[in-house]
Chain length 290, copies 2
């Protein structure tokens, strides 16, 4: 199959690689060409722009940064929605705004171009090992058609509803994590302040009702003082901003999310944009003069 891949960063590059390994014919584009070089060395064609990449492709995948990047690539001058041939399939795997995904679908379908929003969860490890969860929004027939390709990239590939519902599911994921992280870091700080060994506390409570992926993975990193990113504060803060904006548009108050977002903003303001999300621990410690 002739596939275009736009956005070959830490997530996109290994994902595009899996499609090449599966025998597909790949054209790649990335803002910085350097990050696509490895794929080009392995046989992918290089395109000088998204519009060039899309030309002649049956399916186009995008894995970009912020919603404004998605908007520019899809709907801007020379946007791929406008230059793609009717019948082309556009799959946005960026974590982006549900309402933007719906807007893109509307503009695309007016031109006979089909779209699927398909954000992922599982991080760079999931991208490398093709074990991502992929949450899709769009037409069922299109989803079924794309499922074999998506199964090349992940292990938990689901259609959640129409256009934007993949993005909305990813937001539900990020919302659950936000307050869970508050609970994890407050629990460990309380433990520390109480004179307990936080590592021993994780062992004592980490398999019962307090158990969470965040406690057992990021909590363990916190205990060893490891603030290196599995997922960076700046990227998480982007997602929390989208979630709050969408909630606002729906007239929905989510006080736990709003509170967590403020403390992640504090992490960013402190200069911790490139630390892992577990740096929330340091934010709440500082809040308490620790």
């Amino acid at each position: 199959m002739k596939i275009a891949w736009i956005g070959t960063g830490i997530m996109g590059a290994p994902m595009a690689g899996h499609l090449m390994e599966a025998g597909h014919d790949l054209v790649v584009y990335n803002r910085s060409k350097k990050k696509a070089q490895n794929l080009v060395d392995r046989g992918a064609s290089w395109a000088e722009s998204p519009a060039v990449a899309v030309d002649g492709a049956e399916v186009v995948f995008t894995m970009l940064g912020y919603p404004h990047d998605v908007e520019a690539v899809y709907l801007g001058d020379d946007g791929i929605v406008n230059v793609a041939a009717p019948g082309t399939i556009l799959v946005d795997m960026t974590t982006s705004s549900p309402s933007l995904a719906a807007r893109i679908e509307k503009a695309a379908s007016a031109r006979g171009v089909r779209t699927l929003d398909a954000p992922v969860s599982g991080g760079d490890t999931g991208a490398r090992n093709a074990t991502l969860a992929i949450m899709c929004g769009g037409d069922r027939a299109l989803f079924e058609e794309l499922k074999p390709l998506l199964d090349t990239l992940g292990t938990n590939v689901r259609l959640m509803g129409g256009a934007g519902r993949g993005q909305a599911t990813k937001m539900a994921n990020q919302i659950a994590i936000a307050s869970t992280m508050m609970g994890v870091v407050e629990s460990l700080i309380y433990a520390e302040k109480s004179g307990l060994d936080p590592g021993a506390v994780i062992e004592a409570i980490g398999s019962g009702a307090a158990a969470s992926w965040s406690l057992n993975n990021l909590g363990t990193r916190i205990v060893t003082g490891d603030m290196e990113p599995g997922f960076m504060v700046m990227h998480y803060l982007k997602d929390l901003g989208i979630a709050l904006e969408e909630a606002k548009a729906m007239g929905l108050a989510l006080p736990g999310l709003a509170l967590a977002e403020q403390f992640y903003r504090s992490a960013s303001g402190t200069g911790w944009d490139r630390k892992g999300t577990q740096v929330l621990y340091e934010v709440i410690r500082r809040l308490n003069g620790m």
Copy 2:
């Protein structure tokens, strides 16, 4: 061994039963005798008061309600700290205040009475199946002496530090759950408001970074509209109150905990004291006029 068990409610009764089954000689007391009847029918002796129960016992277990119950039974007129013979071991398994546990230990050791705080996690199921996590605070030699008895009641029995450190660990457990529950219910409400099927969302996100015991167990109950108690709001609210009080005494601000406590207080004020903690979902839905 001659053992006294004070407090034979939904947790205490099956726990005392395990000790009887292990061959120990049991004396029981409970405020309402009815709840001890089954144990008496199975061979336990009935005592008319805590002081009578303690008379001649080598080890005394208590599983009570509120910290003021613990204070009354241990330190009140005829309190067991004052009537127990020197050398008696007192084990409080109530979830209670860390600082009260330390006060009890101090008063007891002045009389040559030994104490261990040993709150549990795992609920009535864990109590019945003897799979509780038991978090202990006290002297190491005493802990080692009691470990075989505690292993009769649970599967994850740990010494966390000196007097009160078992209770502090249980508080860390409840603090982690508080904000995790906020994340779970806000995630599911966002999903619902977005037109997603919340059950499908749990399947999509419940095994990745958003995973938690709360999401996969209580979230699933929420989706089916089941608000019956695994753990009651009124009991959880007691624990959150203790945690906030202890944090205040340490000069520790825990904004996520404080926020969650307010919404659980709202659940209580709405008349949902005897609902399960997952009723937080209904609190946040109401907050949004849903």
